[in-house]
């Protein structure tokens, strides 16, 4: 256990920043890349998780528990978002029988 608890001292913070930036960018690219709304929702989850990871990394590095509490709250929001998002998805599938994001093109006026 001792080795695990001190891992933070060995691994530099910038590694986590690069990792999280990569995960976040993959999420953004995924949102732009796919047309399936459910995949887009997953990519949003991915982005949220990358932020969670970065917050935890900073929290551990500074030994400040507030960051981890924020992660907790983000999880709450993410869960709520997924519940509503999936409900919208189900309704969309029911009404237009598709989950293609390009069919949702009424957001004009």
């Amino acid at each position: 256990m001792e080795t695990v608890t001190t891992a933070i001292r060995i691994i530099p913070l910038e590694h986590y920043i690069i990792l999280c930036a990569a995960l976040f960018s993959i999420g953004v690219a995924g949102v732009l890349f796919r047309r399936n709304t459910i995949i887009i929702l997953m990519c949003i989850e991915l982005m949220l998780n990358s932020v969670n990871l970065l917050l935890t990394a900073f929290s551990a590095y500074h030994s400040d528990p507030a960051g981890q509490v924020f992660v907790f709250f983000i999880m709450v929001v993410a869960a709520a978002e997924v519940a509503v998002g999936l409900a919208i998805l189900v309704m969309m599938k029911r009404n237009i029988n598709s989950v293609d994001i390009n069919l949702l093109n009424r957001l004009k006026w």
Binding site: I17, I26, N49, N52, S63, D64, A80, A83, V90
Partner: protein, 167 residues
Amino acid sequence: MTFLFYLLAAVAILTAMMVVLSRNPVGSVIHLVLCFLAIAGHFILLNAQFLAVVHIIVYTGAILVLFLFVIMLLNLNPTNEPRKTPLTRFIALIAGGLLFLVLIASLRGAMEIRAANPFNHEIGLVRDLGKVLFKDFLVPFEISSVLFISAMVGAVLLGKRDPLTKN
């Protein structure tokens, strides 16, 4: 330990890319599960044991299972998903890559920050985190429960078939 970090990082990035690239939505979910497990491993490396457990329970156990349910419920198979044009996909990749570079460049300043507090490996434990959560963040915690309730009500309302449109 450094090896463990690189391994988990590699797994997380690869599975994340597979989430985006996989043609099958079920495959995407499975890769996302793996990705989240890798992130949970990172949490353990960061001494955030409580978060790691919660993460596995909430994301892997609840949210992704919900995704899976919905995919199966709606009977989404890979063949019926139209793909975007190659140009759009190229632009998306460029945008993602640019964003990565810009994020690294922007967060460059954060790398020079020195630790604000003396090192304490116990902050991620349930005992310490619980104290903070229920002392300093009690009101936001309660408000988040309201958010949950409203999200639940909203989900139920959206999921219900509208009696007017049915006829």
